[in-house]
Symmetry: D5
Subunit: 96 residues, 10 copies
């Protein structure tokens, strides 16, 4: 089941650089693990913003929440979620 | 080059059904042609709305505009566009 | 899987009363059938508005969209959807 | 009498973890007590947010305010309230 | 129990004057009856707008909705509702 | 002359409790003095928020501003003001 | 007593030109009469919009409402009102 | 050339009083000098807010920006600017 | 003097095609004349919208308003205006 | 390919002046280098705000993001991006 998730990141300006870099590294590892599992299907950078547009593929709302809640950058994020489903015009087999 | 395009459709309530159906059929054909060409990479329905989230893959802003401007449903659409680019965490080769 | 769905209805002022009444009757029957099936778990009227707050219990985003898309009043509705999941404080067994 | 209450929590990033955990524990106990009493009828997590959608069942606006005002997390919350009443299509006996 | 209700009226420009005047007269009679009963405690005109700020005194959300739903101008109104309760600083006995 | 004034209070979370309590006590005394003078006609708590809806009865905009500007909690408030006047449907003698 | 009043005009596109011109002429005469009386102190056009920023000088909210309500273009206007008072830095004698 | 400029001031709550008073005094002197020069034509206080509505009379956008940029309170202000021009109904000779 | 002007066009769906085409042709001629005069310095299409971002170079707000007010498509436009001036970092001689 | 980029700068009030000045100097040098390369085609100051309207000329969304992301003031900016393309009415050869 697919969800569009948009994440905007606001890291406090006074956070020490090394602390921020550690969180970002954890975030990258966490994200890439989920991408490899097929949970985090797509992630794109919004040009000009510290934000991304992502497509998650999960079994339930619960799973979506837990995945997002586990993001190392979660406390510094503004997140919007929109449930998606297959579009009647889609020719892509797997764009459930 | 990728763009997120969100389209919300508002067909006038007093449009004769056959006219509306014809436009929708044209829209579907138009969309599927572009999907087949790889221009319209993804199209998902937003659950609960007459709206979609799409990812376009085009060579330029100009091409994006012309493709959107040519949509049969274009006059009845509210469209938002966000330029995307590769996310540093992305493991997908082709998520330019 | 639960979704909060808020529906605001705007029936055109110039719609003949009998046509409007017929659609509303169909809407009521459609809603009550889904409530009986457990799909439409809760429906409350927002005091002072021609709007409702509803909780749907469905298997997927797809099912949610099809149920909403099938509402007789759908063309006259503004709909917002929020995916819900079990709250860690909830003591209700069935508030998945 | 039912009210939809949506609560979004913003705990200051610099609050010590133990302090935050204590408040969250108090909040959970407070909430579960009210749920047990039937005052806090439903509480669901909004997937992707530190927010909940709740349905309160109280005797008056006054009681609603006092219950919300007493939330340990109250100072860190943005709250919206909508008064609900029985929907003419509802088949649920107790969805006053 | 008190509610703040703000009503903004948008009568279609093409409504015949006599029809509009009839509805307005019905609205005035309906409002004054409720004021006399103490249900509609206060009604003030917002200077510069075809809108009012009102304070309703009712037994329940249900009663509030039915009173508002019965307004002759209801179909032409945008309504916002806020539940009120006694302010700890209030010296007025009856400002429940 | 009547004005609707809505005040939302945001006291900094790191303000010492005794300091906050002192300001709140001053605010209450200040408000009750104005209520006794008839300047502050009504004050109601908005259920679920640290906010109030008030009706002021003053001789001029100037007086309104000075009364609001003098509120001990003024620096911590977001205030909206709407000028009111007698509604043609009002049956209350003194709802000028 | 001074008020800032901003008026945006939306005349229906299908209004016959002569009807519109008549209303506009009445509006101009009405406005110039009030300007001559000193009630309508200032009126400026907002560059690029069919809107104006005006300063009214009236005795009460009531008078302001009646003056605005009497505008021939009133039914086609969106109006915002802000009560003004003398600024402590003002050196203009008459900027009450 | 006239501009409507609306300024809302948000002085940090933790700014020492004497520092704030000094900036406010500088602001007043700066404003009164420009008023005396005819650059700052009008300044009114918005009742209930730490904000003003002003009318500037300048030769160019550049001059407007430099005057605003030079305000001692500029770093603590939210400013909106609207270019004005003579209204066709204005009877005031100098309301260019 | 430069202004950023953003124009969004909403031509009524029921306007006969030939009428619309005539207005658009007039608009194009009008625009190109002003561009040739250097008044309308830049005009770009916003990709995906029937809207443009333009830079006007005029002597005064008055001139800007008259040029915009004269647009054949003016009645069907939503327009926002922002006064611009030279940026301290600009290396372009003529970006007054 | 052209993009409209609007940047609003909010430098923390407690940032030491010399630190701020250094960043601003770096920003100016960075901007002027890109302007010289033709990447940053236009930059104008919005009168009355610490904000600019810019036109970037880049090969891709990726390049745009990297240029913006590299701005010394980037962490203190709110940025909006709109993809532009040639307007059918434009007479300027190079307003691609």
């Amino acid at each position: 089941m697919l969800f569009k998730v948009e994440m905007t990141v606001n890291i406090p300006l006074d956070m020490p650089k090394d602390v921020a870099d550690k969180i970002k590294a954890d975030e990258k590892a966490y994200s890439q693990k989920l991408q490899a599992q097929g949970k985090w299907r797509h992630i794109w950078r919004v040009a000009g913003s510290y934000a991304n547009v992502s497509i998650f593929d999960v079994e339930s709302n619960e799973e979506l929440h837990n995945l997002l809640n586990g993001l190392p950058l979660y406390p510094y994020m503004t997140i919007s979620v929109a449930p998606l489903c297959r579009h009647p015009s889609s020719i892509h087999n797997d764009d459930r």
